[in-house]
């Protein structure tokens, strides 16, 4: 682009004629490009505006009203009372607390097990690819299908876990319908489901570490465990941050496993924020309350995402250097 302009201007003194039409032709191609540009981004932007941004604006608006999703009537403007109501609503507080416990337990354990397997699989050896693939399968399987498998394995009727407990002389446990086992079971499921993803991300980070670091440490007499804690672990800290934040965002949106495994029970002991929003919006038709809870979820999500962008940016610079 730039070079053609330069060559015309340098030869322009001798070649008199072609200059004005060339300028005009260039402008039209740019106009063409501009129009094509809008046409090419139109499908994505228009669909996002209709099915994403417009509902988002509506969510914020409805959070100040007594909107009823069943009738579609916006209802009355009630100011902040939907929000203040949430903080006096035991069910919401329970759901928020469960989501908090879930984040604090599931995210670190998932990352720790994922890192453990990634470290075991860091060096090439026979069968590595098979191990990695089999450990990764739970992450790509449909959650409904795998949650059904868990509901069978944990069932008091014929479930293999209770079968093993009985043969050890322990009374069967209602893993999915008694406290605190129901929440523990949902969390164990989520750890099982998410570990493969953490493993793959950590594997990518570990392969980025130059082999020479490990060789140098080996020459200095560092064993594999020492090498892991002194070299690998410090160098995957940015990845740890990234996984922690994506893990938190994922945990804020937990729904499917709760719906399949426990339906939020017993006594709301496994209810999460998204499950609460779903129930308010689609079971009780309290659209205002659902929207207010969604706005709170949005605020938390944005805060976490902004931190994520910061971490990602820092991670980029580390990777580039």
């Amino acid at each position: 682009m730039q070079s053609t302009v330069d060559s015309t201007s340098s030869t322009g003194a001798t070649a008199v004629v072609p200059r004005p039409p060339r300028v005009r032709r260039r402008r039209t191609t740019e106009e063409q490009e501009g129009r094509a540009g809008y046409a090419l981004i139109a499908p994505t932007t228009v669909l996002l505006a209709v099915f994403y941004l417009y509902p988002l604006v509506q969510t914020v608006g409805y959070s100040f009203t007594t909107w009823n999703p069943a009738t579609g009537q916006t209802g009355d403007f009630v100011g902040l009372s939907n929000f203040t109501g949430l903080f006096q609503n035991d069910e919401f507080l329970r759901a928020a607390g469960n989501t908090g416990i879930y984040v604090l337990v599931v995210v670190p354990i998932t990352m720790a097990i994922g890192l453990f397997f990634a470290a075991l699989l860091a060096q090439p050896f026979r069968g590595r690819g098979v191990y990695r693939a089999l450990l990764f399968v739970p992450y790509i399987a449909p959650i409904v299908g795998s949650a059904l498998i868990f509901s069978f394995i944990l069932s008091p009727l014929g479930g293999i876990v209770n079968g093993a407990l009985t043969s050890l002389g322990v009374a069967p446990i209602g893993f999915l319908n008694s406290e605190p086992w129901a929440l523990i079971s949902v969390m164990v499921f989520s750890i099982w489901q998410g570990t493969g993803y953490a493993m793959i991300i950590f594997s990518a980070a570990l392969t980025n570490i130059p082999q020479s670091y490990h060789e140098a440490a080996t020459l200095d007499g560092a064993g594999p465990i020492r090498r892991f804690f002194s070299i690998s672990l410090p160098l995957v800290v940015p990845t740890l941050g990234f996984l922690a934040i994506t893990g938190v965002i994922g945990a804020l949106q937990v729904f499917t496993q709760v719906y399949i495994l426990t339906q939020g029970g017993p006594l709301q002991s496994t209810e999460t924020i998204l499950y609460f929003i779903y129930q308010q919006g689609f079971v009780f038709f309290h659209g205002g309350t659902a929207s207010a809870a969604a706005v709170l979820l949005l605020i938390v999500g944005i805060v976490v995402s902004v931190i994520q962008l910061r971490v990602l940016n820092r991670r980029d610079t580390i990777e580039l250097t």
């Binding site: 540009g37 988002l56 409805y62 075991l120 050896f125 450990l135 790509i140 099982w192 793959i200 990234f242």
Partner: protein, 301 residues
């Protein structure tokens, strides 16, 4: 992998020198091998915990309903009930679910590829007013989880008359900010010389996109297609809300429905259904394992 083969050949060529190693006492050889034995032991245990449930699912799907609930549990079915898989199609319209899942997943995936590729190309290669601002707005929208906006979205779909319809299940899935972002990044990693050359030859924007850039992007399209298909096939939450009629159930919705109506006594059928739900993703995974893993790990950058 390459290191492994290199090490193997090195060992083979160096055999005479290594012969002394054979004279190591058994205990020393065991000590040398221990890290590797321990590693395999841990990994086998991991595979049993992480992949074992799927094996259990498939085995149970061939048992009778009584055997599935029997105690102590049997490992292999006493009698292989292949008819569980035919029975499930009569218990619930699984054929319809399968067809719906296929239509929705394939159409959503195709839509995501076409729109993301076009927008990614435009943002990376074309100059037009406001492109920077629009791209930043798109990125900002990435901060908003879909789960936040679903209540008004479903009522919007109902105003369109799109609940219980293919367009309702497909169209809202089509815009993919992540896809736009991935394709933009991908195109920017390519030098522009070939396109410049074709531009000098008089190729317009469309020619450049379809004949020059798209063929180069084939690996990226493949990786994104696989990820997108798996995501769409597994999707539950949105479809669960957008569909109430059995005619438009997808496999995950159908399974959830089967669970709530049949309860505990037919785990063998539920496991057959789960197997059917997981099978397509599993096949795709076996074929495209490398692309999935590299796209997941590479999609972060």
């Amino acid at each position: 992998m390459t290191e492994f083969t290199a090490g193997a050949t090195a060992r083979r060529t160096a055999r005479p020198a290594v012969r002394t190693h054979r004279k190591r006492p058994f205990s020393a050889r065991l000590r040398l091998a221990t890290p590797s034995i321990l590693r395999h032991a841990i990994l086998v245990l991991g595979v049993i915990l992480f992949f074992g449930p799927f094996v259990w699912m498939v085995l149970t799907s061939f048992k009778s309903s009584a055997e599935a609930l029997s105690f102590p549990p049997t490992f292999l079915p006493k009698v292989w009930h292949f008819d569980n898989y035919t029975q499930i199609f009569s218990v619930a319209p699984f054929g319809t679910y399968y067809l719906n899942s296929t239509i929705v997943s394939v159409a959503s995936t195709a839509g995501q590829i076409v729109t993301s590729l076009a927008a990614g190309f435009a943002f990376s290669r074309l100059k037009f007013r406001g492109s920077g601002v629009i791209f930043v707005i798109l990125l900002a929208a990435l901060l908003v989880p879909f789960e936040v906006v679903f209540t008004p979205l479903i009522s919007l779909l109902s105003q369109f008359g799109w609940l219980n319809s293919y367009q309702g299940l497909i169209v809202p899935n089509v815009p993919s900010i992540l896809g736009v972002f991935l394709f933009k990044q991908f195109f920017e990693s390519f030098p522009t010389e070939i396109e410049d050359a074709s531009r000098v030859d008089g190729a317009g924007v469309w020619r450049r996109m379809w004949s020059v850039v798209t063929p180069m992007a084939t690996p990226m399209i493949g990786a994104f297609a696989v990820l997108s298909f798996v995501y769409n096939w597994n999707n539950f939450f949105f479809q669960f809300l957008a569909v109430t009629k059995t005619d438009f159930f997808t496999v995950p919705i159908g399974l959830a429905q089967l669970q709530s109506t049949n309860a505990a006594e037919s785990f063998n059928l539920l496991m057959a259904g789960s197997t059917l739900a997981i099978l397509p993703v599993f096949v795709v995974f076996i074929i495209f394992q490398k692309q999935i893993v590299s796209a997941m790990a590479g999609g972060l950058r």
